[in-house]
Symmetry: C2
Subunit: 309 residues, 2 copies
């Protein structure tokens, strides 16, 4: 006999704050938190504990659906089993990352690092983001969350992606073939790509050389999108205005790395989305999905087990 | 005989870059730049040279209209003569200042000063501006320019002003009577007031004490709105999360001032709107007004000589 749909397991309990927040959301959605052997579904409650999954699911007798806490399921791929319905946190973490992009653009254009490092009244500098020209590499969830934020700024925004499918809020969308042309025109280049064999090292010495020398490079994708040594050289030679990096290669950036010593480089420690920012967002998604599960409605964020995302 | 309306003086010529940009705008609007004794109107072209005005206007024979480069005409008050029609740059400089507010909010919430000062991989910190509660003191042009920028962030925005006239984009508008209640509720307090006898020292030890200890104070009004010694004490005792100040009292902040040494204080050197940011904005206004003058249409930004603004 299948378990009643309102019976929900929240496991493992290795992250007390996350466990408690998810359990509360389950109850707010009309569910009851029960041990896994009584549950109809499992809210997987520790993103760092993928390896605990096999032992956990072995105790389940009636679980039909598993909700994962990840945006991307790379670290969980080996456990995906088509016997279950899978959902993940697809899209929920994009708004804080889009916020990071706005932060980095404004920080760069308005010279905040210079002011933050000053211990006496500095020279008046800075330029406006308002009305500037931007290129964003990648047309995924982060870009979709960023475009509404930049909309009131009157910027000219070019999205560079594999297919030139238009995105609402972008001035234009072009394919990667046109990357070099776009790089030469814009005031800032924002990397918001997934790391794939095609995108590793996409910003190298040649691409940095294509950029204007008053243009900023922002990376909120993965460190591997930028050839670090080429970036160090470009920053040292003022070939670009500067870089704001939330991801680095290597990461964390080791003590004494040349990027630490450059005035025109700002490193943020992979905080596009932090666990503290992400928890309320995944909790909201879980609350919504548990309500849908109990009502027999379609779930948000389905994972295609065959495709692996 | 009055001069033809397309004959425009651009004086003084003491700021070559500004003079040239305004002269170009006059021509783009269909005007011809002529000496002041031939002109129907004067574009006053050096904000630092108010004292040059009497000698200049003494040479005019047919000038009917004077366009000033200022947003507020305090420094020009003694020269205002009701014999002329006066316009100023009212409102044109608000967008860069609104941009500064967004910069300061994001810089504060996302811990950019900490990251900018680091020379090794820092701890992951920061919180989201998205969905936060903000109070903005003042309902003038800066607030009007700020509200559209914050609109996509899903914030709860309370405008505190003399009259509770609603502003589009604000969640609510309240009067100054309710200031203490509002201060206790919000994640950030933004000062965007004019300095008047009622607003001098509006943020003092009591008001800082009313704020949450995780709330930020931003000042883009005037240094005199905040009692500096009270702010130093509040920052030292972590009574508030921190402060971002574009204006200080005294200003410029002298070397060795205690605010320079506080990790939870960021000073920007009165760059809400810099001359470099403002020039294209006033030039746009002048182009528009010269076109209107030639066409005999109403001018934008009239100054009421009796009221002095």
């Amino acid at each position: 006999m299948p378990a009643a749909r309102n019976l929900v397991a929240v496991e493992p309990a290795t992250r007390p704050e996350m466990h408690q927040a998810i359990a509360r959301a389950v109850e707010e959605a009309g569910g009851t938190v029960v041990p896994i052997d009584e549950a109809s579904c499992l809210m997987f409650a520790d993103p760092m504990a993928a390896d605990a999954f096999p032992e956990l699911i072995a105790q389940a007798t009636n679980v039909e659906w598993v909700q994962l806490p990840y945006a991307g399921v790379e670290t969980f791929l080996r456990h995906l089993d088509p016997a279950y319905t899978w959902t993940c946190g697809k899209g929920v973490y994009a708004p804080p990352v889009a916020e990071w992009i706005m932060t980095a653009l404004l920080t760069a254009f308005r010279d905040i690092p210079t002011f933050a490092r000053a211990n006496r009244w500095p020279v008046q500098t800075g330029r406006n983001l308002l009305g500037s020209r931007l290129a964003i590499l990648g047309g995924g969830g982060i870009t979709e969350a960023f475009l509404p934020l930049i909309e009131p700024w009157g910027c000219d925004v070019t999205v560079v992606r594999r297919q030139a499918t238009a995105l609402p809020g972008a001035t234009r969308t072009v394919t990667t073939d046109e990357l070099d042309v776009v790089l030469a025109e814009v005031d800032a280049v924002i990397i918001a790509l997934a790391l794939t064999p095609e995108t590793i090292g996409i910003i190298d010495a040649d691409r940095l050389g294509s950029m204007r020398n008053d243009a900023w490079l922002l990376n909120v994708g993965r460190g591997g999108h930028v050839v670090t040594d080429d970036l160090v050289a470009a920053l040292r030679n003022n070939e670009i205005a500067g870089a704001v990096l939330d991801v680095t290669d290597p990461e964390p950036l080791p003590d004494g790395h040349p990027l630490w010593g450059l005035d025109n480089c700002l490193i943020t420690p992979h905080v596009g989305n932090t666990p503290a920012m992400g928890l309320p967002l995944i909790v909201d998604r879980i609350r919504e999905n548990v309500a849908r599960w109990i009502a027999g409605e379609p779930l948000i964020g389905p994972v295609d087990v065959e495709l692996g995302y």
